[in-house]
C-alpha cells in the first residue's frame, strides 16, 4: 500500500508537469517560480532543522562504543571505534560520512542453522548499494554544475572526463549514471523483498526512493534517448542563477519533468528523512568522545544546590560542641 501510494504520488507529479508544460504551457511556473520556491524552502528548512537540533541538550556522552575504551596503560585502546579525544572523533566521523563504516559491520541478526543460537552476519550488500548510490549521486550532482557555472571550472571538466572514462557511446555513458540507477533500484528492491523491512517501511521511506529513481531515469533518458536543445537549457539555468530568469522556447517536456522532480526533491528534503545529510554530523552516538570516566560532565540544567559543609557547620556550633566535649577540627 505504502509502495503503491508513493509510486502513484511520483507518477502524479510527472503527470502534473506534463500537463502543465505540454498542454497548458506553464513553462514560467515550472521553470522559474517553483524552483525558486523550492530553493528557499530547502535553505530555510535546512537551517531551521539544524538550529532546532542544535538546541537539544547534550548533558552526557552517549557514543556507541565498538572497541576497547582507553583505560590502563597496558590495555590497547581503539581510538577510532571508541574515541576518547577530538582526534578520534574526527577520524570516526570521516570514516562514517565518507565510507559508511557502521554499515560495514555485522548488523544482520539471524538464527544460526545448527542449533537455536543467535548469530550476527554482515550486510555487505546494503553497504555496497548505499555507498554506490550516495557517491554516484554526489558526483552526478557535482557534474551538473556545468549548467550553473560560466565559465565551467576545470575541475568539473576533469570529473566529467574521469566519469566518462569508458568512452562508450556518443555522448559518452557516465559510470555514475549506471551506479546511481543500480544503487537506488537495489535499495528499493531490498526494501520490497525483505519482509521485516517492508513491515516497518512507511510512505516516506518509499517516496524518496521513487523520486530519486525518477530523477535518475529521466536524466539518463535526456542524455541518451530523448534529446533536447541543451544550449537553451543552460540559458535557463544560468538565468535562474543570475536572477534574470528566461524560459526559452522549444525545450522538450522531458527536461521539465526531470527538473520538476529535482525541484520536488529540494522542497521535500528538509522535511524528510533525507535530512540525515545534516543530521549525521549531529548524531550524539557518533560525534561525542567517550570520555565519561576521564572528564567530569556536569548536567547543565542541574538546579543550584545550596551547600553547607562540615567546616561551616563547625563554625556555627563550635562553642556549643566544645562545651559538650565533642572533638572539633579547628580549635
Amino acid at each position: 500500500m505504502n509502495v503503491l501510494s508513493s509510486l502513484v504520488v511520483v507518477l502524479a507529479l510527472i503527470l502534473v508537469v506534463y500537463l502543465g508544460v505540454d498542454k497548458a504551457g506553464l513553462t514560467a511556473l515550472f521553470g522559474t517560480v517553483l524552483p525558486y520556491v523550492a530553493i528557499v524552502l530547502f535553505l530555510g528548512g535546512f537551517i531551521y532543522r539544524i538550529l532546532y537540533w542544535a538546541k537539544s541538550p547534550v548533558p552526557f556522552r552517549i557514543p556507541t562504543t565498538c572497541g576497547q575504551q582507553k583505560t590502563l596503560p597496558w590495555i590497547k585502546p581503539n581510538n577510532f571505534d571508541n574515541p576518547h579525544n577530538g582526534f578520534g572523533v574526527f577520524v570516526r566521523m570521516v570514516l562514517e560520512v565518507l565510507f559508511f563504516r557502521s554499515l560495514f559491520r555485522n548488523t544482520r541478526t539471524q538464527i544460526v542453522k545448527d542449533g537455536p543460537k543467535v548469530g550476527y552476519a554482515s550486510n555487505y550488500w546494503l553497504w555496497f548499494l548505499a555507498i554506490a548510490f550516495h557517491w554516484a549521486f554526489l558526483i552526478v550532482f557535482v557534474r551538473h554544475l556545468r549548467f550553473f557555472t560560466e565559465p565551467i571550472p576545470e575541475w568539473i571538466l576533469g570529473l566529467q572526463a574521469v566519469d566518462g572514462f569508458i568512452e562508450y557511446g556518443v555522448p559518452v555513458f557516465y559510470i555514475t549514471s549506471v551506479l546511481l540507477v543500480v544503487g537506488v533500484a537495489g535499495l528499493l528492491v531490498r526494501r520490497l523483498f525483505s519482509s521485516q523491512l517492508r513491515y516497518i517501511s512507511l510512505l516516506n521511506d518509499y517516496f524518496p526512493l521513487f523520486l530519486i529513481l525518477g530523477i535518475a531515469l529521466t536524466g539518463v533518458l535526456l542524455r541518451h534517448y530523448v534529446k533536447t536543445d541543451i544550449v537553451s537549457v543552460k540559458e535557463m539555468t544560468m538565468g535562474l542563477i543570475s536572477f534574470s530568469p528566461v524560459n526559452p522556447e522549444g525545450v522538450h517536456v522531458m527536461f521539465y519533468i526531470h527538473f520538476f522532480l529535482v525541484t520536488c526533491l529540494f522542497a521535500y528534503f528538509p522535511f524528510s528523512k533525507l535530512m540525515h545529510l545534516g543530521g549525521v554530523f549531529l548524531s550524539p552516538t557518533r560525534n561525542l568522545a567517550n570520555n565519561n570516566r576521564e572528564v567530569r560532565h556536569i548536567n547543565p540544567w542541574n538546579p543550584k544546590v545550596k551547600l553547607h559543609s562540615y567546616a561551616e557547620y563547625e563554625d556555627d556550633f563550635r562553642d556549643k560542641m566544645v562545651a559538650a566535649g565533642i572533638p572539633v577540627d579547628k580549635e
Binding site: L43, Q160, V170, I241
Partner: protein
C-alpha cells in the same frame, strides 16, 4: 545551544558550498553569456536546425557506424538530398571553422568530443 560554535561553522560551510554557483558566476560576471555559433549565411543544414541542435552527435555516430561497418557512405536526408557521410568532408565543409562553431557550444556546456584525437580539424586555408 551546545557546541553552537561548531554547528554554526558547519552550517556556514554548508551554505557556502551549496551557493557555489551563485558566488562563482557573480565573481566571473559571465552569467548572461550565450554562445553564438557562426553558421553559413545561406543554405540549410543537413536536417532541420532543431533536429541538428539536439541530435547531431547521434547523427555522427550513425554515420560512423554506417561508414566503418557497412561501407555505406551516402546519407539521404529527409529532404531527399544526398550527402557523403563524413565528419571532416561534409560537416566541416560548411562549418569550416571549428573554433567559431562546434567549440562555442561545446565549451559553453563542457562537452569535449574525443573525435579530434584522430580526425583532423580542417584549417581555414585549404586542406580539409
Amino acid at each position: 545551544m551546545y557546541d553552537g560554535g561548531k554547528i554554526i561553522t558547519g552550517l556556514i560551510i554548508f551554505l557556502a558550498l551549496v551557493t557555489f554557483p551563485l558566488w562563482y558566476t557573480a565573481a566571473s560576471g559571465d552569467a548572461s553569456y550565450t554562445p553564438d555559433p557562426e553558421t553559413p549565411a545561406q543554405g540549410n543544414c543537413i536536417e532541420s536546425k532543431e533536429y541538428m541542435n539536439a541530435w547531431h552527435m547521434d547523427m555522427l555516430d550513425d554515420w560512423r557506424d554506417a561508414v566503418v561497418r557497412d561501407a555505406n557512405r551516402v546519407y539521404v536526408a529527409t529532404d531527399g538530398k544526398e550527402h557523403e557521410m563524413s565528419l571532416t568532408m561534409t560537416c566541416m565543409n560548411c562549418h569550416d571553422d571549428k573554433e567559431k562553431f562546434c567549440d562555442r557550444c561545446h565549451t559553453y556546456l563542457g562537452v569535449t568530443p574525443y573525435c579530434w584525437d584522430c580526425h583532423v580539424v580542417p584549417n581555414q586555408q585549404g586542406r580539409r
